[in-house]
C-alpha cells in the first residue's frame, strides 16, 4: 500500500512541476527579481538621479512618524473604499448574473449592455463620469431632481467622493458578472430539477443550490476585489487628484506621488511593501476563513 501512494505522489510531482513550469519560470524571471530589487530599494534613499544609499528602516519609520504623514489617511481611504466596494460589488454582480441566466428573451442584449462599460477606455470613462457627477449639469443630479430625491456634490464632496468612485467601479466591472455567469453554467441542471421535484421554489433553489455552488467564485471575486481595491489608482488620479482635501487619497495615488512627483523611489518602495504586508495579512485571513464556507465540487 505504502509504495503505491508514494509512487503516485512523486509521479504527479514530475507532471505537476512540468505543467506549472511556465508559470514558475515566469515567477522567477519576471516577478522575483524585480520584487527583490524593490524590497532592497525600500531600505535606501533613492531619488532616481542618485545612487541608492542604504538607510535601513528609515523609510518605514518615516511613514508612521513624520509630522503630517498622510499614511494613515491613505490607508483609511483605501480601506473605506474596499469595505464599500467589495461586498456591494460581489452582491450586485452575482445577482445580476443570476438574472442574466434566466430564460428570458434578449439575454444577449442585456449581457452586452452590462459588459459595455468595461470596454470603454478608462480615459474616456473618467470623462463621462466627470460629467455625470457634475453637481449642476450632470446626469445623476438631473435624474435625482426629476425623481425629487436629494442630490449630492459627488466627487466634490468629502463624504461622497469615495462612494462615487465605488459607483464607477461597479459600473465598470461587467466582467465580474461574466465570471459568475460562467460559473452558473457549470452548475448541473439536475440539481435544480431535483429541488423542483421536491416542491421547492426559486428561493430554495437560490439558497440551496446556486449560492453554495458558486461559493468558489464568490471567494475568488472577493479576494480579487480586495487585492484590486487596494490598488485602485486611475480614477482618483484622473478625476479627483486625491481631493477634495485628502478625502480621496487612495494609497496607490499616495505611492505614485511619493515616487514620481517627489522623486523619492526608496520611500515609495517602502510604502508599496507596507501595502503588500497589509494585503497579505488580510487575504491570508480571508483564505483561512473561506475554508468554512467555500465548496469545491472537486473535493
Amino acid at each position: 500500500m505504502k509504495n503505491i501512494i508514494v509512487k503516485k505522489s512523486y509521479k504527479d510531482l514530475r507532471s505537476g512541476l512540468l505543467f506549472a513550469l511556465p508559470a514558475i519560470l515566469g515567477f522567477f524571471i519576471f516577478s522575483l527579481g524585480p520584487m527583490i530589487m524593490s524590497l532592497v530599494l525600500s531600505f535606501t534613499d533613492y531619488r532616481i538621479v542618485n545612487e541608492p544609499v542604504f538607510i535601513g528602516f528609515e523609510n518605514y519609520i518615516n511613514l508612521f512618524t513624520t509630522e503630517g504623514t498622510l499614511f494613515y489617511k491613505a490607508i483609511f481611504v483605501t480601506f473605506y473604499y474596499v469595505i464599500l466596494s467589495v461586498p456591494l460589488g460581489v452582491m450586485f454582480h452575482f445577482f445580476s448574473a443570476i438574472l442574466m441566466n434566466r430564460k428570458i428573451k434578449g439575454k444577449a442584449l442585456f449581457r452586452a449592455i452590462y459588459y459595455i462599460p468595461s470596454v470603454i477606455p478608462v480615459a474616456a470613462s473618467c470623462m463621462i463620469w466627470l460629467w455625470i457627477f457634475n453637481p449642476e449639469r450632470g446626469l445623476l443630479n438631473y435624474l435625482l431632481e426629476m425623481l425629487h430625491l436629494p442630490t449630492s456634490q459627488w466627487i466634490g464632496s468629502e463624504q461622497a467622493v469615495v462612494p462615487s468612485i465605488v459607483m464607477i467601479a461597479i459600473w465598470m466591472a461587467g466582467n465580474t458578472m461574466v465570471v459568475y455567469l460562467a460559473g452558473l453554467q457549470d452548475i448541473p441542471k439536475s440539481l435544480y430539477e431535483s429541488i423542483e421535484v421536491d416542491g421547492g421554489n426559486a428561493l430554495n433553489k437560490l439558497i440551496h443550490i446556486t449560492i453554495p455552488m458558486s461559493t468558489h467564485l464568490i471567494f475568488f471575486n472577493t479576494i480579487m476585489g480586495i487585492i484590486g481595491g487596494f490598488q485602485v489608482f486611475v480614477q482618483p488620479m484622473i478625476m479627483t487628484d486625491g481631493g477634495p482635501g485628502t478625502s480621496s487619497l487612495f494609497y496607490s495615488l499616495y505611492v505614485f506621488r511619493e515616487g514620481f512627483e517627489h522623486s523619492r523611489m526608496g520611500s515609495a518602495s517602502a510604502m508599496s511593501w507596507m501595502l503588500f504586508l497589509i494585503i497579505l495579512v488580510l487575504a491570508g485571513l480571508f483564505v483561512k476563513l473561506s475554508r468554512k464556507w467555500v465548496y469545491y465540487a472537486s473535493e
Binding site: N50, L130, W131, F133, E136, G243, P244, F260, E261, S263
Partner: protein, 466 residues
C-alpha cells in the same frame, strides 16, 4: 490529436509573430546602436562633420506637437550635421516615463521638465548650468531674456528658463459685455478695484430666470451663467496674493507667509466669490467642465481667470473674446509661470544640445506657437521692439487688440514669478496647502483658520529659497 495539431499550429504562428516583432524592433535598435557607434568614432575625429544625434523629449496637445515637429525640422535644416531624435510623451505619463529613462541611464539630452523635478534634479547634479553656456555664447546673453523667468537652484546656477513665458490673464466673452454695457480694463492703470470687480461679476451672473446677482430675486441655486471662473490651484490665488502685497515665503526663505493677513485676505476674497457672492462656480463644478474656453463659448461663464495658453484654444474657437488685466487688490500684477526646458548633464553632445536649446528659446523659430497664442517670447526685445511685436502679437485671432497692454506689457512690467521658481520644497508644501484650501473653497472654513492651522506643518517642508 486534432486538438494537439491545432494547438501546435497556433504555437507556431505565435512564435513566428514574436520573432517578427523582435526582428523589427531589434533592427531598429541595431540601427540606433550603429549610429551611436559611428558618432563616437566621428566625434573623436572631427567635431562638426559627422551627424550627431541628440534626444529631445516634450509634451503638448496635438497642435503643439505638430508645431514643435515643424520647428525641429527647420532646426535640422539649419544645422545639417545634427539630427534630433524627438520623442513625444503625453503629459500625464511624462513624469513616469522620464523618470524611468533617467533611472535607466538613458536621459535625453534636451527635454521639457516639470518645475519641481527640474529644481530637485538640478540640486542633485543632474542638469547643466545654463549660465555657463550663456557666458560662452557670442549671440545670446542672460540679459536678453526676461528677468523673472529663471530657475536658479543655487546662486549663479541656473537650469534654464521657461520653455515659453506664460502669465495669468482675464478673458471674457466680448459679446456678453457689449450687451451689458460694461467695459473691461486693459491696462494696469485702469484695473478694477476688488469691489468694482465683484459688482461687475454680479452683474454678469444670471440665474435661470434672467435675474442677475445684484437683483433681490436672484436664485443662487439655479445659476445659468457665472460671472467669473477661476481655478483653485496655486496660480490664480498667488496672483491675487501678490496683488494684495503678500507672498508665499519670506525674503530669506525661512518662513511660510501665506498665513499672513495680506495673503489670507486675498484667498478669502476669492473664496467669497464662490460662496458669498455666488458669482463663481465651485471647484466641483469646474472640474467637470471640459475647458474654460468651452465655458466662455457656451456662455456658462462670462469671464475667466486663467493662463495665457488658453489663447491657443480661444483663437481657434472663433469666439469673439477680449483680454483684460486682472482685478487688483492693492497693485495690478500678473503671475508668471511656465515649466522649463533643460539640458541633462549626462549629455554626450553639450554643444549641439546648446544649439537646440538656443534655437528653441528664439521666438523666431517657434513663431507659429507664439502667433497661435500658446507661448509668449522669452526674449525682451520681442516685447519692446514694435516690428518684432507685430510678428506675433498683432493681426491674428489669438491676440485681440487689448493683448499688448493687458498681457504683454503687464507681463513685462508687472509680472511676478510664481513661488515655484524660488521656493525649495514647493511641491510638498503645495500638496498640503492645496488639500487644506479645499475646505475654504467649499466655504466650510475660513482661509485664516485653515492657513494658521497648517502653517507650522507647511513650514516644516520649506527647505529654503533658491
Amino acid at each position: 490529436m486534432k486538438k494537439l495539431k491545432r494547438f501546435s499550429g497556433l504555437v507556431g504562428v505565435v512564435m513566428m509573430s514574436i520573432m517578427m516583432i523582435t526582428a523589427c524592433s531589434n533592427s531598429k535598435s541595431a540601427d540606433v546602436d550603429d549610429k551611436a557607434n559611428k558618432e563616437e568614432v566621428a566625434n573623436s575625429a572631427n567635431e562638426k562633420e559627422e551627424p550627431v544625434t541628440i534626444k529631445f523629449t516634450y509634451w503638448g496637445s496635438p497642435v503643439e506637437k505638430k508645431a514643435v515637429e515643424d520647428n525641429l525640422k527647420k532646426f535640422e535644416e539649419t544645422y545639417s550635421h545634427i539630427v534630433v531624435d524627438a520623442e513625444y510623451i503625453p503629459n500625464e505619463d511624462y513624469l513616469t516615463k522620464i523618470s524611468a529613462m533617467v533611472a535607466g541611464g538613458d536621459a535625453p539630452d534636451v527635454a521639457y521638465l516639470f518645475e519641481a523635478n527640474a529644481l530637485a534634479w538640478a540640486g542633485d547634479g543632474e542638469l547643466m548650468n545654463i549660465n555657463d553656456f550663456l557666458e560662452k555664447d557670442p549671440d545670446l546673453k542672460r540679459e536678453d531674456f526676461l528677468d523673472n523667468i529663471w530657475y536658479d537652484w543655487a546662486p549663479g546656477k541656473s537650469l534654464g528658463t521657461n520653455t515659453a513665458v506664460e502669465a495669468m490673464g482675464l478673458y471674457y466673452n466680448r459679446q456678453l459685455f457689449v450687451e451689458a454695457g460694461v467695459s473691461v480694463p486693459a491696462t494696469a492703470e485702469d484695473a478694477w478695484e476688488w469691489d468694482e470687480f465683484i459688482e461687475v461679476a454680479q452683474q454678469m451672473t444670471i440665474d435661470a430666470n434672467g435675474n442677475n446677482a445684484l437683483s433681490s430675486e436672484f436664485d443662487a441655486t439655479n445659476i445659468s451663467r457665472y460671472g467669473v471662473q477661476f481655478g483653485t490651484w496655486w496660480a490664480p490665488y498667488m496672483a491675487m496674493v501678490f496683488s494684495n502685497g503678500g507672498d508665499y515665503i519670506n525674503e530669506d526663505g525661512t518662513e511660510f507667509t501665506l498665513d499672513e493677513p495680506e495673503a489670507v485676505e486675498a484667498i478669502q476674497r476669492l473664496a467669497d466669490l464662490i460662496n458669498v457672492y455666488h458669482v463663481a462656480p465651485s471647484p466641483a463644478q469646474v472640474v467637470s467642465m471640459p475647458s474654460p474656453v468651452v465655458g466662455l463659448q457656451s456662455e456658462q461663464v462670462a469671464m475667466m481667470i486663467d493662463g495665457q495658453w488658453n489663447l491657443l484654444d480661444l483663437g481657434a474657437s472663433g469666439l469673439d473674446f477680449g483680454i483684460g488685466v486682472l482685478p487688483k487688490m492693492k497693485e495690478s500684477v500678473t503671475l508668471i509661470l511656465g515649466s522649463p526646458t533643460v539640458i541633462f548633464k549626462s549629455t554626450e553632445h553639450p554643444d549641439e544640445s546648446w544649439l537646440l536649446f538656443k534655437w528653441l528659446a528664439n521666438p523666431e523659430s517657434g513663431l507659429e506657437l507664439h502667433k497661435g497664442g500658446l507661448w509668449m517670447p522669452l526674449l525682451k526685445e520681442w516685447y519692446e521692439d514694435p516690428s518684432l511685436v507685430a510678428k506675433w502679437a498683432e493681426n491674428n485671432p489669438a491676440h485681440p487688440k487689448e493683448y499688448k497692454s493687458a498681457m504683454m506689457d503687464q507681463t513685462l512690467n508687472n509680472g511676478r514669478p510664481a513661488p515655484i521658481y524660488y521656493t525649495n520644497g514647493f511641491v510638498e508644501m503645495d500638496e498640503i496647502v492645496g488639500a487644506a484650501l479645499d475646505e475654504v473653497w467649499l466655504g466650510k472654513r475660513t482661509a485664516e483658520e485653515v492657513l494658521t492651522e497648517i502653517s507650522d506643518l507647511v513650514e516644516g517642508k520649506l527647505k529654503g529659497r533658491y
